[in-house]
């Protein structure tokens, strides 16, 4: 277990970022969301298909990023609280043992 998993994670993230940068540079950064790509595929295959229902509320681009960000922030807050709480708890326990 000498190989640290943290280094592996960093390496994987860097590789993914490099792959993405390379792709963006070679194709001019054209990217479609996979959901949309799937939608196009369905319409190509099945041109008469009518969606049975439309989204109730479709946020404009900027607002969509904001809401995605909010979703991530809520999660990150809970993760931070969890690790912070138990990290501090361990520290206090150690100090009490010493005293």
């Amino acid at each position: 277990m000498s190989l640290k998993v943290e280094y592996l994670l960093i390496a994987a993230v860097v590789l993914l970022a490099a792959f993405f940068a390379f792709h963006a540079l070679t194709t001019g950064g054209e990217l479609i969301a996979s959901d949309d790509a799937a939608e196009d595929l369905i319409f190509d295959h099945n041109p008469d298909y009518e969606p049975i229902f439309d989204p109730i509320f479709e946020p404009p681009g900027e607002l969509e990023s904001l809401l995605f960000c909010l979703q991530g922030a809520i999660g990150a807050l809970i993760i931070g609280l969890f690790f912070g709480y138990y990290y501090a708890m361990n520290k206090v326990k150690k100090r009490e043992q010493k005293a």
Binding site: L16, I42, F82
Partner: protein
């Protein structure tokens, strides 16, 4: 990964809603039981849900498409597919209502793929592999990887069932193939999270029977 609003014909939307409905009812009863029996694991439940929140909000552009990780690995190995499906239903409802990402009519199908099918594969794999001598980190990694990839394969199958099996392969190319690099990074994220949970509060992993005491001692040594 989600199937967009209205993209499943009524009969398929209803079918997946029925399947997911049954799963969710059983799961909520199960969740209540687990929480009542063992209130101490609530923080681990919260943090597992939080990882689904964070990771599924990261849209990462890969190849011809953009996908996002599912983040269900941690809750799959800690709590199993039933509880994961409840957590996923919350996330998917948020995205369907406010982000026009996924949809209400397709929520049943999406929740089945992301909340139940992928996690079920991961859970079975983890249960089986943790008894072998395979490195525990690698086991966690593989389970998370399978949860992410399984979700996308199920999504492709759901669309193909409704719109003709010919679209299965191109869909797998869009969904699953490009999901592989993402699933690798996601797997490593969960491995690191797993390592730190074992470090700061290994009791959680013992109480939920994720690992044995010897395995915990080995991680922290």
């Amino acid at each position: 990964m989600h199937i967009m609003e209205g993209m499943l014909p009524t009969e398929w939307a209803a079918f997946w809603w029925a399947v997911t409905g049954i799963i969710l009812v059983v799961s909520i009863i199960h969740l209540n039981k687990v929480v009542r029996k063992n209130r101490d694991v609530l923080p681990l439940l919260a943090v597992s849900g939080a990882f689904i929140f964070v990771l599924s909000s990261l849209k990462i552009p890969v190849g011809i498409s953009s996908s996002h990780p599912t983040g269900t690995g941690l809750s799959s190995i800690a709590f199993g597919p039933a509880i994961t499906s409840v957590l996923c239903a919350i996330v998917l409802l948020f995205q369907a209502l406010f982000l026009a990402h996924g949809g209400l009519t397709t929520l049943g199908a999406n929740c089945f793929a992301m909340g139940f099918f992928g996690p079920l594969l991961a859970w079975c794999l983890f249960k089986f592999m943790k008894k072998t001598s395979v490195n525990i980190y690698f086991t966690v990694f593989l389970a998370t990887f399978v949860a992410g990839l399984g979700t996308y394969i199920m999504t492709s199958l759901q669309i193909a069932l409704a719109h003709g099996m010919e679209v299965m392969l191109p869909l797998l190319e869009i969904f699953a193939l490009w999901q592989i690099p993402i699933a690798i990074v996601e797997g490593l994220v969960i491995v690191v999270a797993f390592k730190y949970i074992a470090k700061v509060k290994g009791d959680f992993l013992l109480k939920t029977n994720v690992i044995t005491e010897e395995q915990l001692a080995k991680i922290n040594s």
